[in-house]
């Protein structure tokens, strides 16, 4: 049973981690909690639904329930959602940053979240969609440890994206500039960094990763208008657990939350699953508000 909890927890934790990277980066750079982050995942999932539908049905790849159209749709959806995140900043947050304070930005992001979710519900209706009607066969990995091929592929893709993001931050000039702006925006400008450009890049990256999380969630669960909103609490818990502004922290935080949620089902009952993220977040804020990886105090 422990093996099953681990594999389920790691798979959903990897998706939480992907979504939390964008959240922790924008929170670290712009000093505000973006409540619309979950909606990027929703929109990413629906973008992929439309694109995969337009590309037409192709035979599923091996034991998977989906074929190449969904993989192509994933890439295109990441690009579109990146643009959505960027435009939300350009239309809304950038103007408010100039005049308003953090509270104004948080409330605005809450409004944006409601608007984005309602738009999805208006366009697609409240009923859930699936990328495929095929039945996902489970594979036996070890005694008492089963996973679908979909889960394993999604997990591998999520880990690849996390690694790519980590390398971008640690090894490239853009990552260096992002770390500098996150540490001290005024000083970064004086050190010659175009902070506005770094902020734009952060929205693009955060949006793209959230879209991937949404598509992966759609593959392993279902596509629903509220999927991103329900992801929001785990995202915040993961970002706070790892330390605001820390990308490795968001990844590890996501995995911890995912495993804790999966463990809660047999231990406390499925109805308490959603409460776990909340409890972890509260405990972390009380005990160690800077997070495991020493980010900014949340």
């Amino acid at each position: 049973m422990i093996g099953q909890i681990l594999i389920d927890g790691i798979t959903s934790g990897a998706m939480i981690g992907l979504g939390a990277i964008g959240l922790t980066l924008t929170c670290g750079l712009l000093r505000f909690a973006n409540f619309a982050q979950g909606e990027f995942a929703t929109w990413g999932a629906y973008f992929a639904l439309l694109i995969a539908g337009a590309l037409g049905g192709a035979a599923p790849l091996g034991p998977l329930t989906f074929g190449w159209p969904l993989l192509a749709a994933l890439l295109i959806s990441m690009g579109l959602t990146a643009l959505l995140a960027w435009s939300l900043d350009a239309v809304l947050f950038r103007r408010l940053r100039r005049h308003g304070n953090a509270i104004v930005l948080v409330i605005a992001s809450f409004g944006a979240s409601l608007a984005l979710r309602s738009a999805v519900e208006f366009l697609f209706g409240p009923e859930p969609y699936y990328y495929s009607r095929d039945i996902a066969m489970t594979l036996r990995l070890a005694p008492g440890m089963r996973a679908t091929a979909d889960q394993l592929v999604v997990l591998a893709l999520a880990l690849v994206l996390m690694l790519a993001m980590h390398l971008l931050l640690a090894r490239t000039p853009l990552g260096r500039a992002m770390r500098a702006v996150s540490e001290n925006p005024d000083l970064a400008r004086l050190a010659g960094i175009d902070a506005a450009r770094v902020v734009r890049a952060t929205w693009l990256l955060g949006g793209a990763l959230a879209a991937a999380a949404g598509v992966f969630l759609g593959v392993t669960v279902q596509v629903r208008p509220a999927m991103g909103f329900e992801l929001l609490l785990p995202l915040f818990a993961a970002a706070i657990l790892g330390g605001i502004g820390s990308v490795p922290g968001a990844m590890v935080g996501g995995l911890v939350i995912g495993i804790a949620e999966a463990a809660a089902v047999p231990l406390a009952g499925a109805q308490y699953r959603a409460a776990v993220a909340f409890v972890v977040m509260l405990a972390m804020l009380l005990v160690r508000p800077r997070g495991l990886f020493g980010g900014r105090a949340a």
Binding site: T172, P173, L174, L187, L190, G192, A201
Partner: protein
């Protein structure tokens, strides 16, 4: 002269060319490096900087002195772009930069250091210096994926240049150390290194001698002279009048937000208005 050679290498062609251009222009018309006219900055009702005008010729080492609260640091903040002026204009190398953001001013060749140096503590010394490299293709979101070879080549060139600058400022052994582990004096050198990475024409130094041990201070003075010989101009805020006398060809005195006197170090320190400003506690 050997030191100057080092600087020429690390500064690249840009500085060497501009030195030549300045040298040929000098006999007829000395080029204006910085031209400030009627610059003011209000905080509420108070004017921290009050209609200050200042002209610096190319190739100068100028001092800016005055009692505490005279507005020297506010003036630096206005010139470097940390603050916007309430009124007045700043021209740098003939261009109006009064409203330009700070990173554009550094790109144009105008760098500054702080009285209390502020490194990016979590980054290494080398990374701190690399931040200021200009025109890095790898700072664009897509270049890292679309043209990784070009990004890598630019990064290698920048790392080589950053290492030369770090060696030039006697920080060579510390290149890989986190900036948080540096002493106060070493942090001053690191700030200078970061500014040099942008190949500046004018450097604003805020109290380079404050909190620096005498040995390190001699290194800083020697490097300022090397850089000056390589064509870089300086404006230095400093309370150590001995240092000002040794380095500066001209001194500007501020008091109560206004420009009080300008002249040679000797003349200025004997000026009764300056003595009055220091003894009388400002305006």
């Amino acid at each position: 002269m050997a030191r100057m050679g080092v600087f020429r290498d690390l500064a690249g062609n840009r500085i060497v060319h501009t030195v030549r251009a300045d040298a040929t222009a000098k006999p007829s018309r000395p080029q204006r490096m910085l031209e400030i006219s009627h610059l003011s900055r209000r905080f509420g009702a108070a004017r921290a900087v009050d209609r200050v005008s200042l002209r610096l010729p190319a190739g100068c080492i100028a001092g800016l002195i005055g009692p505490n609260g005279a507005g020297k640091t506010t003036l630096f903040n206005l010139i470097a772009g940390s603050l916007r002026p309430s009124e007045g204009r700043i021209r740098f190398l003939g261009r109006d930069i009064s409203r330009a953001p700070a990173h554009r001013r550094l790109a144009a060749g105008l760098g500054r250091t702080f009285q209390i140096p502020r490194p990016f503590a979590a980054m290494t010394v080398l990374e701190n210096v690399l931040l200021a490299a200009q025109g890095q293709p790898g700072e664009r979101p897509f270049a890292n994926w679309l043209s990784p070879a070009r990004v890598a080549a630019a990064e290698r060139r920048n790392i080589d240049r950053a290492r030369e600058i770090i060696d030039f400022l006697a920080l060579g052994r510390l290149a890989g150390a986190p900036a948080a582990t540096l002493s106060g004096g070493q942090r001053k050198l690191l700030e200078l290194a970061r500014v040099l990475m942008a190949a500046p024409r004018l450097i604003l130094l805020d109290e380079p001698a404050a909190g620096v041990n005498p040995t390190l201070l001699e290194v800083i003075i020697a490097r300022i002279r090397d850089l000056h010989a390589g064509g870089v101009s300086f404006l230095i805020v400093e309370h150590n009048l001995d240092l000002v006398g040794r380095l500066c060809s001209e001194v500007h005195v501020m008091a109560g937000g206004r420009m009080l006197v300008s002249g040679t170090p000797g003349a200025v320190t004997r000026d009764p208005r300056v003595i009055e400003a220091y003894l009388g506690g400002g305006a």
